[in-house]
């Protein structure tokens, strides 16, 4: 058994007295696709932000490849091989698609602090190859500000891949997309993750996406993990049903 890529140990985060995340522990193996689901207010966003460095935990540790990375800001997690996508896409709207990806490459190769040489031809080929993989090569010259939403999600994926990540964190990867393109994007992501042995942790509302692509599912309710396991087992778990449908249901 290989060492886990990501380990959470007893993570706790309270907002004004309310424990949004209350002692969460889990591990993610290389190349594994793990979905995090739960009803509204379960603490998914908070847990996700504890893992990606945007929020500091009150207690508990996060390990990346066995190394303690608790409390590191997102940019330092990137340096340690984490790529991510956002629930509401975050790209550089005034830059072209190619520039967005080239910048991620420049950052990955530590070539940002260069002041005189034009950036135009740096990593152009590598950027094009990445865009090709996510199916955005044809739109490389377009400005991100004018792209369709689903295409922005692809650009985000390409930027995350520019880091040659071992871990991909995807917050609601298909939110806001047309239903038909949701499954296509996740299938693409799954294929790349398999090919490169990238571990993927994602939150998702669309159960077709979750059960179509996750190898394992974790269910969060009121800050605690109430179920974890293979998709069908989780689906059959009475506690999970109750958290979604209420007692009467």
């Amino acid at each position: 058994m290989t060492a886990p890529v990501l380990q959470a140990e007893g993570l706790v985060k309270a907002w004004g007295g309310v424990r949004a995340v209350d002692g969460v522990s889990f591990a993610l193996a290389p190349g594994e696709m793990l979905a995090l689901i739960g009803p509204n207010g379960a603490g998914k966003s908070t847990l996700f932000n504890l893992l990606n460095g945007q929020v500091r935990a009150d207690a508990g540790r996060v390990r990346l490849g066995g190394v303690d990375v608790t409390g590191l800001p997102p940019r330092k997690l990137w340096r340690r091989g984490v790529g991510r996508t956002f629930q509401i896409t975050a790209t550089f709207a005034s830059l072209s698609v190619a520039e967005n990806v080239r910048l991620a490459l420049l950052s990955h190769h530590r070539r940002v602090f260069s002041f005189i040489r034009p950036s135009g031809d740096l990593f152009a080929g590598e950027a094009q190859a990445l865009l090709d993989r996510v199916g955005m090569a044809a739109q490389a010259a377009r400005t991100c500000g004018v792209l369709a939403y689903g295409d922005l999600k692809r650009v985000e994926l390409a930027m995350a891949l520019a880091n040659r990540p071992r871990l991909l964190l995807m917050d609601e990867p298909t939110a806001g997309m047309a239903p038909e393109s949701r499954l296509a994007l996740m299938a693409q992501t799954a294929a790349i993750a398999r090919a490169e042995n990238i571990a993927v942790l994602f939150t998702e509302h669309d159960m077709d996406v979750v059960f179509g692509h996750a190898a394992r599912v974790m269910v969060l309710d009121r800050g605690r993990l109430i179920a974890e396991g293979a998709p069908e087992a989780v689906r059959a778990d009475p506690r999970v049903r109750e958290s979604y449908l209420g007692k009467q249901g």
Binding site: A90, F92, F115, I116, S119
Partner: protein, 615 residues
């Protein structure tokens, strides 16, 4: 050394000025709370209040009435007229800008400053006005053996009384309750069926009325002048920023601190009271960015304004620019001294504006104090000349380094804040720099400046100096252009577009902005040094607010989307100012109207308008 009686009197003096300051700051902060607009023109409303009160006590029905009723009738009427003006301005101008970027709102209110300046000049003339003394409050009382004017005592009472009345208004009236609700969550107030237009107009009337009252109450104690507006607005900014924007209690507390700081600062450090005030502000902002009683950013960051489109210069415009420079170089030998001086100034201003553009455009920050670095370069050159007899060549090399160091120092504080707060902090640091140049007479010569800072012999001719200015300015612009298109510039634009995404791909936004700030300061310093050699002297006005605002206007007029913007803007602005100053005494009025028109009708700037037409 003063005895304790003297200290008490000094403390009371501080209270009296705190009171006036509170009136102005309270209006500013109430307006900001609801509308999220920082009203640059608030000092102008204060000045109008003073002028109107002066007129009403001297002419018209109140003057005929005379006595107690006449005086106070005039004061209150002045405040009411200003309140009505505030409502009018909200309805005609500001209402159209609530969804515009912050900078454009500031720019619009600054245009109002210019307009009011000249309207006041038109109506009341350039001479200082002295108002009557207040009936029944003419004399002085003896406090601990020292005489203390009754009117000052009265003013001390006005602050708490107005604070109390405002409290009652905000807690006991429906209007006040709606104001407080809107300060917290405008959208929810609308969802409950409240038409916000009335609220906004009302709050502007209220805030303007307070400023007008503050101004009107000054006429028995100080001359009414055309300089009151800028003096009071800077202090009011400091007060609301220290107290916390939007917090009435904070404004009261901060007014008290600033009033007393002035009163006692004069006793202890007569030279550096201003530095003291701004240092307090800087410390507060760094330790508690939301101000002493401010609530901080509890609301989630609102969706960023539509990102500027990446503009590459239309080829036609680029060739036109190159041709224009070529024509200038060719024609220069046939021009007289005056046009050459003017053109050299233009070259300097272009570099100044282009340097500011780096942080405003690609950097996404606003600097309201860029003159600090312009001045730092100028003073570096002048001081090297004065103390070490350094020639121009040394000065031109040293100036950008000196200004860049100042930029590193100030920038370290400024770039960690954003929006209105960053703008205010840059302004504060510029005022610190200004105070040093103004008050540290032994080194800087104070108001007299440093004279005789001439170019080296070979560059002393007007033609050669113009070529030198043009060459250095062009070189600076080219360097800026390279930086913007280099990986660093790409990363700088990226952190502006999406701080979240930039951080997620390993970019350190703070560091990027900090370095950009220093680079920008260094090039502004080069412009400042050139300006100093062109004029043969340096003065504190080199780093005054007006120059900072000049820079801001040049960039915004031109549009922040492209580097061409500030260049076009600098030439247009300087040219307009020059032409207007020659054609009319009321150039500020025309300039203000032009800016207002541009903000309302061409929100993307001049170059942006051209680019759109070309597209």
């Amino acid at each position: 050394m003063l005895d304790w009686q003297g200290l008490v009197v000094q403390g009371l003096n501080g209270l009296a000025s705190a009171s006036s300051l509170f009136l102005v700051a309270a209006g500013l902060t109430v307006i900001f709370g609801v509308s999220r607009i920082v009203n640059f023109a608030h000092g102008s409303l204060y000045m109008l209040g003073a002028f109107l009160a002066w007129t009403l006590t001297a002419h018209g029905p109140f003057a005929e009435l005379g006595g107690f009723l006449g005086f106070w009738g005039a004061i209150l009427s002045a405040a009411l007229i200003v309140a009505a003006l505030g409502a009018l301005v909200e309805m005609t101008v500001l209402r159209r800008l609530y969804h515009a970027p912050e900078l454009f709102q500031l720019l619009a209110t600054f245009a109002l400053v210019l307009i009011v300046q000249d309207v006041a000049l038109l109506l009341w003339g350039p001479d200082d006005k002295f108002g009557p003394r207040a009936p029944l409050l003419r004399g002085a009382t003896v406090i601990f053996g020292a005489r203390f004017p009754l009117y000052e005592l009265f003013l001390i009472a006005v602050g708490p009384v107005v604070l109390g009345l405002l409290w009652l208004l905000l807690h006991r009236s429906r209007f006040g309750i709606l104001l407080r609700a809107a300060t917290h969550d405008r959208e929810m107030v609308a969802a409950l069926g409240v038409d916000q237009k009335l609220l906004f107009t009302g709050v502007f009337a209220l805030g303007a009325g307070l400023a007008g009252l503050g101004g009107a109450l000054q006429i028995p104690r100080e001359a009414v002048t055309l300089h009151m507006d800028m003096a009071v607005i800077v202090e009011a900014f400091v007060v609301v920023v220290i107290g916390g924007l939007g917090s009435l209690g904070g404004a009261a507390l901060a007014a008290l601190i600033i009033g007393e700081l002035h009163a006692f600062g004069i006793l202890v450090f007569p030279r550096i009271t201003l530095v003291l005030v701004f240092l307090v502000m800087a410390v507060v902002l760094v330790l508690r960015p939301q101000g002493l009683l401010g609530r901080g950013a509890e609301t989630a960051p609102v969706a960023a304004p539509a990102p500027p489109l990446p503009g590459s210069l239309p080829p036609a415009l680029r060739w036109a620019a190159i041709a224009a420079v070529a024509v200038l170089v060719a024609v220069a030998p046939f021009l007289g001294d005056y046009p050459l001086i003017l053109l050299a100034d233009f070259a300097v201003l272009v570099l100044f504006a282009a340097s500011l553009h780096l942080i405003m455009g690609p950097g996404g920050m606003a600097s309201f104090g860029h003159a600090a670095y312009f001045g730092a370069g100028a003073y570096a050159a002048a001081l090297l000349f004065k103390h070490l007899a350094a020639p121009m060549e040394v000065g031109l090399i040293a100036a950008p380094f000196a200004a860049g160091l100042v930029g590193l120092l100030f920038g370290w504080f400024c770039v960690r804040l954003s929006g209105v707060y960053a703008a205010m902090l840059t302004l504060a640091f510029a005022q610190i720099a200004w105070s040093v140049s103004f008050q540290w007479v032994e080194v800087t010569g104070g108001d007299n400046g440093i004279l005789g800072v001439w170019p080296s012999d070979w560059a002393r001719g007007r033609l050669v100096f113009f070529y030198l200015s043009l060459a250095l300015s062009a070189a600076g612009v080219v360097v800026l252009r390279r930086i913007i298109h280099a990986p660093f510039g790409l990363a700088l634009r990226a952190q502006r577009d999406s701080p979240l995404r930039a951080e997620a791909i390993g970019l350190d936004g703070f560091f990027l902005r900090w370095i950009a700030f220093a680079v920008s300061a260094a090039l502004a310093g080069l412009a400042g040094a050139l300006f100093a050699y062109g004029k043969g002297s340096v003065f504190p006005s080199f780093l005054g607010i007006p120059r900072s605002v000049d820079g801001l206007l040049m960039v915004l007029l031109g549009g922040v989307q492209t580097l061409t913007g500030p260049i076009v803007g600098a030439i247009a602005y300087a040219g307009l100012q020059e032409q207007l100053a020659r054609a009319t005494d009321y150039w500020r009025l025309v300039l203000g109207l032009v800016i207002l028109a541009l903000v309302l009708f061409f929100p993307r700037g001049l170059a942006g308008a051209f680019a759109r037409r070309a597209a």
